[in-house]
Amino acid sequence: MSYWFRNDNRLPQARLAVASYIIVGMIGVLLLGFWKLQVIDSDKYATLAERNRVREIPIIAPRGRMLDRDGRVLVDNRPSFSVLLLRDDMVQVEKHLAAISDGLGIPLDDLKDQISTTKALPKFQPIIIKQEASPADIAYIESHRSDIPVLEMISVSRRRYLPDGFLSHAAGYVGEVSEQQIEASNGKLRMGDFAGKFGLERQYNDILMGTDGKRRVVVNSIGKEVSPLPAQAAIPGKQIQLSIDFDLQQVAEQSLGARPGAVVALDPRNGEVLAMASHPALDPNDFAVRVSADEWKKLNEDEEKPLLNRAIQAQLAPGSVFKIVMATAMYESKAVPESFTTFCPGYGTFYGRQFKCWVFWSHKPAHGTVDIHRAVNQSCDIFFYNLGMRLGIDRISYYASKFGLGRKTGIDLPSEEPGLMPSEEWVQRAFHRRWYPGETVSVAIGQGAVTTTPLQLARLIGGIASGGVFMQPHMLKDAPDIKEDRFPLSDSTVEKITDDMYGVINEGGTGAALKLQDIEFSGKSGTAQVIGYNTRDRVGKQKKFVDNAWFVGYAPRRNPEIVVSVLVQESGKHGGEAAGPVVRDIIKAYYDKKNKKTQGQYTAESKSPEPPRTLPAAITTPRVGRADASTTTSAQATAERER
């Protein structure tokens, strides 16, 4: 052994001491690092660890059903499966993307698009990559559970509506929520959720929608499920009961048929909507899943406006139905004596311009001398031109507004239109000019700038016949806080105006053909010009400019139980002929049902307290067709004002 180490015991004790201080310092610094993570930021990391470990898969809450007044199902759900992509492990996702695209038949680019558009969402939130998974898709996912751990399936309930657009405008439809809806929902809605977009689905979305639950599972670091955790059950949406009567609705849909138009049936005693139809209609089942932007654009630009709920959104001249407003104003204001009569030769000159009565074109004899009762029955325009002049626009406008024209009825449906009741004040405001007296003449027969919706007319006629009590129309059967507008009419006014409307049908008036046995069916027809007669003479008889037919009928004569307002657009026929039969069919159906019930013969499913579980397989409504090219023209825009 060599002796290189001899006599060498000089140890650098000071430097060794430094080494021990360094050791203590080093451990101290490391402990500080642990203190920061484990004590100061512990909660943050605990959350992250929990999020790592727990995967949440939504349990979609089924939407509540819609039932009719007797508990029959109008809108139901059907089961369906959606494919979820679990995004918490993007490396796995990327790895399997091609296989997923292949296996589920989703174009790879679509898949990538969906992933990139949802980038901002938290990673632990899965996205739906395919709706309406087919049995083949389900088999694919089940058989690849172990090698493609990023796919999951959830059962969702899709809306099932009655076929052929039955009640479609009122019921509305659901769709994937928009970004605006998500923002407005205060965190209640998330991307990919379905919510009501239109109609009652939208109006009562909060009731119908329910709260999604979550299935929670522990997953390991490679995304495999290890064990389940207590799930949070979905809270199903609540069902709503509508005031709609399935039977009357069916009659309404059938009777209106393929013609564009609308039907509203109300119970004027409480404002309940018994039926509401609007044609042409779409089958909302077609877009229960997803509508492409293109399809949507096409629907919106469709000239027939199938998306328009004409019952509450068509703003059209009421035509002669407005004469009820005139007559009531006359009785009530007493500004013109009841003994007032005019002579109708078929035309008349007012303010230097010739106006014609409808009989002028009808190949019938002129009305001759008419009083108010006959004027309503025969719908004599000359009488009402004169009456209008005598009442003046202020008085007409006052009463019409009191009866709810130019104002939304407040029905529980979104996007209701208010219509328009012109007045001196209105022309001042809108056009900065004064009112021309000639305009009063047009307004007096429900032309000119006056526009109304079918719903407004139902409420108006029902309210007048009920003595001036106007109930807020509503679709929900036991809706709370129903507004009641009272404009009490004197008993004599009510008696006379209801007698007048009774006469329209029962005393050889314009609705004589509609008479129903044993029922005090009353009402008023209207035939509104889309464009003025004079203009029509110029452009010729194009279908586009054919008159709109109205009929608003009710029963019984006083204190009515049902009022029905029907619009048939561009029928080319008189209101009594085109729209009247629809009203009559519904009123008749109402009484048939009522009589059966009181006689104890009505034993349909409505009697059972339990509503049927599913919808009847098929409903015998005719396919709602579409008329040839024609426009729902806003009367306000195109109706030519006659001066």
């Binding site: 180490f5 140890l11 490391l30 993570l37 512990s42 943050k44 492990d89």
Partner: protein, 370 residues
């Protein structure tokens, strides 16, 4: 010279600390692997520990002067082994670090053995410097002595082990009387090197792609959701979610569900911290501190400078391991692949630590012997 002393002279405190740390390691290895395909790993670790204890006692019987005598032969053996690894070594995890030792039945990680040899060689070298101050020539010699194996280890590549050689030479030089101005120059060089590693235009030339990736993911863990940035993040989540009291033995979700990378080895401290909390960390780091201080104390009481350098070489290596590994676990350093001595699972690494401690015992046993 008398024969080797009796058992009374062993550092029983050191052994107790050692045994306790090993016990914590075995427990945590069990907890981290018992439910997985790696179950039974703790038994294997116990086996390594047993072999380690035997080797440690065996090595302590041999006079360290005799070992130091053969330092340069060992050095040559070490270099040959490193070259052999590069030529015929086994590749695991993308690096050629293992060599098949006939009869052992396991692959041996050569660089672990080389660490031990470098400790011996440096002790010999610095002991032979017979002045109180280390001049530049000796310093450069020491650097060259370490530089050659360091380059060979980097070739494997094994950045972690290569890095461990640095503190060994640094601590040796410091104790051999490094001048402050030299220290300043070398520190500056060190800072520049670290700067270069973190500066992409330069690091592109000197680092392997996987090493660069580790650096970038350390600097920007959020950009690398699944690479080593992910590993660091998951480790931090594990540590942080453990809180002060820990989630309890076998209850760490990050650990049990496999979110912690190599939870039984390099990241075992992460698993320990998750399940035992800050109190457990306090215990473990306290034990490591006691171990290191005990080593320094042994150095202070060594009979000669050679013995001191030997003990402090071991302390430098172990201290650096602890620092780099634990700092990585809390996300304060990039992933380097340096295990935590005595707790991490691993054959070669465990054997290295026990052999190193064997050297320390050796020095202690002979402190009163002349």
């Amino acid at each position: 010279m008398k024969d080797a002393p009796g058992t009374r002279d062993y550092d029983w405190w050191l052994l107790a600390i050692l045994a306790t740390i090993c016990a914590l390691g075995v427990l945590e290895i069990y907890s981290a692997t018992h439910g997985s395909s790696l179950a039974g790993m703790h038994i294997k670790q116990v086996r390594w520990l047993a072999i380690g204890f035997i080797l440690m006692f065996a090595l302590s019987r041999l006079d360290y002067h005799q070992i130091l005598d053969q330092a340069y032969i060992l050095y040559i053996v070490g270099l040959v082994a490193l070259v052999a690894v590069l030529l015929v070594g086994h590749t695991r995890f993308g690096a050629k670090r293992w060599i098949n030792v006939p009869g052992l039945g396991e692959l041996l990680q050569v660089s672990e053995l080389v660490k031990l040899i470098i400790i011996i060689v440096l002790a010999r070298f610095f002991a032979e410097v017979r002045s109180d101050e280390l001049d530049l020539r000796d310093l450069i010699k020491a650097a060259l002595l370490v530089g050659v194996p360091l380059v060979l280890i980097l070739k494997q590549p094994d950045l972690g082990t290569a890095l461990v050689l640095m503190p060994m030479v640094a601590v040796g030089a410091f104790l051999a009387g490094l001048k402050w101005q030299h220290a300043a120059v070398f520190s500056l060089a060190g800072v520049l090197l670290v700067g270069a590693v973190f500066y992409p235009p330069v690091s592109k030339k000197i680092l392997k792609p996987y090493q660069r990736e580790r650096i970038t993911s350390f600097l920007h863990p959020e950009e690398d959701a699944k690479g080593s940035g992910y590993q660091l993040l998951q480790s931090k989540i594990a540590v942080g979610s453990g809180g002060f009291w820990g989630k309890g033995f076998g209850n760490g979700t990050q650990n049990q569900l496999g979110y912690i990378p190599v939870r039984y080895s390099d990241f075992i401290m992460s698993a320990w911290a998750e399940e035992q909390g800050f109190k457990g960390v306090l215990l473990a780091l306290g034990l490591y501190m006691a171990l290191l201080l005990r080593l320094v104390q042994n150095a202070q009481r060594a009979k000669d400078r050679a013995g001191m350098f030997l003990v402090m070489g071991v302390a430098a290596a172990l201290g650096f391991h602890v620092l780099v590994n634990v700092a990585m676990v809390i996300g304060a350093m990039p992933v380097t692949g340096i295990p935590l001595p005595l707790m991490s699972y691993g054959g070669s690494a465990t054997l290295f630590v026990f052999l190193a401690i064997g050297l320390v015992m050796n020095v202690r046993l002979r402190r009163f012997v002349n």
